[in-house]
Symmetry: C2
Subunit: 459 residues, 2 copies
């Protein structure tokens, strides 16, 4: 692209749209929120500190505790009215040694890029070896039955279906084998499972993520394998179905430990007992730095408070940001938070979650009745200059969903999903893959919506 002819023309369009609303003080305030977010480096510098100084933050780890203390300190440094830790007992699953896997077949030995799936048992020090049975679905496994599966390693090789527009579609199409593969394998006597990573990317990065056991079945070890390695293994099996596969993981479950939700708030000037919550989760998987999942969510949530303060916006209701622990495994943080809300009879009027990555926002998903959503749609016009075109019914977020009751409006930020699962739960989820402006458009979108909810009490 040569220079600015096209951009100026597009900008003319944008400015025209802007002008149409600019008599309106609300659009001016929202314009100021976006301008401040886009020109500030504070949130991006915070994300860098979180990712580079602390890194991956597995629930139950020292890192997730360090992150909570760091986050609390950051909240205090921007002089919020109140900032504190909330105790939560959480699981302490540890990964152990770097995982290894290889096959031996007629054509020789092949190494693979693998990782233990989250909460899996380990193989023991010596690892396990077995023949491999490849399946694309649980139905296929069922048809093969115990006689074909017993004593073997089950290889779940179904790829993400890439036809959908959102990459969540592909993820949803393939993640079931990660979550329930070990249960289904154990049901037919398998000794371990290998699962193709639930991602659209085609590379050598294995992706982790939570898996589940069924207490009535043996707990067998489960690993994720990169998409390129998964194809390689399929190819080797075609040439030699008798190949033997070895993998070794030393992950294990230690006793539960203390963890923390982190909470910060600006007190409302008129209705301090009514809360508008914005949050994400402070824990992450450990292979990367938990940048998009969900470093950006908690940094954006804190940034909402900073934007309000920096622009001198005094909310009528209390604006509270929450960094929940343990979203990735048992959601103990969200459960504890919801319990305390009930105990204290705290009134939340809205709870908004950012946990789809620090990518360009496209709108909001509203978990509420059509009737209630119609009220929110009146505010969509304020976000059109920023290309937020989706004000739709949909899921809000895992953590805020524990607050579900008729009085709380649950909302999730919708972002461009195309790159998300390239990073998600892998060593690729690092600071360098976050674009400052994209993340900050999310911060501004959250702050803008909260500004309107606070001012007009949409209920």
């Amino acid at each position: 692209m040569k220079y600015y002819i096209k951009y100026v023309l597009v900008t003319v369009f944008i400015l025209t749209v802007l002008n149409a609303y600019s008599q309106d003080m609300d659009s001016l305030t929202i314009r100021n929120i976006y301008s401040e977010a886009l020109t500030s480096f504070t949130a991006y510098d915070n994300l860098r500190e979180l990712c580079k100084n602390i890194g991956g933050r597995l629930t139950g780890s020292k890192q997730v505790v360090d992150a909570a203390k760091w986050y609390l300190g950051k909240l205090q440094s921007i002089n919020v009215d109140n900032a504190y830790l909330q105790d939560v007992m959480v699981r302490n699953w540890v990964r152990g040694d770097k995982e290894t896997a290889y096959s031996n077949s007629k054509s020789g030995k092949n190494d693979f890029h693998v990782c233990a799936l989250g909460t899996s048992v380990g193989t023991g020090e010596k690892g396990i070896t077995g023949k491999v049975i490849e399946v694309k679905s649980f139905d296929e496994l069922k048809k093969l039955g115990r006689e074909n599966v017993e004593g073997k390693i089950v290889f779940f090789s179904r790829a993400a279906d890439q036809r959908g527009y959102t990459t969540g579609y592909g993820y949803g199409s393939s993640v079931g084998q990660r979550v329930n593969g070990a249960v289904e394998g154990a049901r037919y006597g398998a000794i371990g499972v290998v699962v193709r990573s639930a991602t659209d990317s085609y590379d050598y990065f294995p992706h982790t993520g939570v898996m589940r056991y069924n207490d009535s079945l043996p707990k067998i070890p489960a690993i994720g394998i990169s998409t390129k390695d998964a194809d390689k293994l399929s190819e080797l099996l075609k040439a030699d179905s008798d190949l033997s596969f070895y993998f070794r993981t030393t992950c294990k479950q230690n006793p539960d430990v203390q963890g923390f939700n982190v909470i910060g708030e600006i007190k409302g000037s008129e209705k301090p007992d009514e809360i508008i919550l914005v949050g994400g989760h402070i824990d992450s998987w450990d292979l990367g730095e938990g940048a998009h999942d969900d470093g950006t969510g908690i940094i954006q949530s804190m940034e909402v408070l900073r934007l309000f303060q920096s622009l001198g916006i005094k909310p009528k209701h209390t604006i509270r940001c929450v960094a929940f622990i343990d979203e990735e495994i048992d959601q103990k943080g969200a459960r504890k938070y919801a319990e305390v809300v009930k105990e204290k009879n705290e009134k939340h009027i809205a709870a908004i979650e950012s946990d789809m990555g620090g990518l360009t926002p496209h709108g909001f998903a509203f978990e509420m009745s059509e009737e209630r959503l119609e009220k929110y749609k009146n505010y969509q016009k304020y976000f059109e200059p920023y290309w937020l075109h989706l004000f739709v019914k949909g899921g809000s977020g895992v953590d805020v969903s524990f607050l579900n009751n008729a009085e709380v409006d649950l909302i999730g930020l919708i972002v461009d999903s195309q790159q998300y699962f390239d990073y998600h739960h892998s060593a690729n989820d690092v600071f360098e893959n976050v674009n400052r402006r994209e993340m900050q458009l999310g911060s501004a979108s959250l702050a803008g919506l909260i500004y309107l909810i606070d001012k007009y009490d949409i209920r």
Copy 2:
């Protein structure tokens, strides 16, 4: 993000939207176009070949000729009805040695990351040294006048204004000093100019791009400097305004050489003499691989033909893809193409350009009357499932704009701009920074719109 709860909910919304249209054959065809684009790796593999085997493709270089031959071969390999090169004489500016720059001040020597601006004269073998005068605008330079500027190096340090939603806004706010800085410097007797890169990114990559001379003024050498180095130089100047700055560039202008536009087409079954054009530019700057600017544009344009063929869509009109040469400097390719169109009296009914990067598409900019645009807006509904929410008046593209006349509908693909200027004209514009799905959403959007234009002859 834990697993697929939210995504499934968002997907339910998407599928609901899909179902609303699925009785309609056109939406089904467009759905098939997107599915084929999202599941195919052909275009992405082509982009990898272009970027990795040929790389940067400066107008006038051997690489841009190699690229034309490669592109022609690719067109032939997908059995289009007609594929050929169109001769174009183009400029042959060569960069020469890797550029160097440093300052000497009270605090010692500092090196900077710089690059010659496109079409600049060189400094000569020995380089040039001078005192530096820093300005933010041409007005400021004018006020300083010849007495303060003569014999010095002018440092244009205005940063891109980051407040706008599109990054084109910031680019437009700062690129003028790159294009006309040398003219304005020479007007007051400067011996050279150093220009802060027109980008939102904050790093050590200098960005090049075309600059202009005025024949009535001395031609002085011009370099771009990375944004971090620009700040460093400002800082050094604050501490020591007498510092001396050295830079050396050996770029020069050789005699014009032969270059090529590349043209491929599927002949229309009913109106073969009426053409729907889709194109981008085959030349690029030389610091990177010309991936987003505009490798993706020409790969998407060829992919439109492949999608039609692969899905058995037989167009009524001729669908022609064009890879224009020399977009970055003199637009000789686009001028020649338009001349030949006139000579041969070829009738174009629409011309669509993709030259804003292979990023997630948001819609189309229509360079036409409101009345004509209203007709296109009837088709917007087909693109809503793919989040294309902009069907707006705006600039189409530099190359297709030479076809401007009342009979041709000029259209440009609008994409997410947030990352674009991080890569644009820098060593960062490489294959690795293109996401396959984002690029392919662009291919499918172009193909879908062309399918509708062809079928309904929107005129």
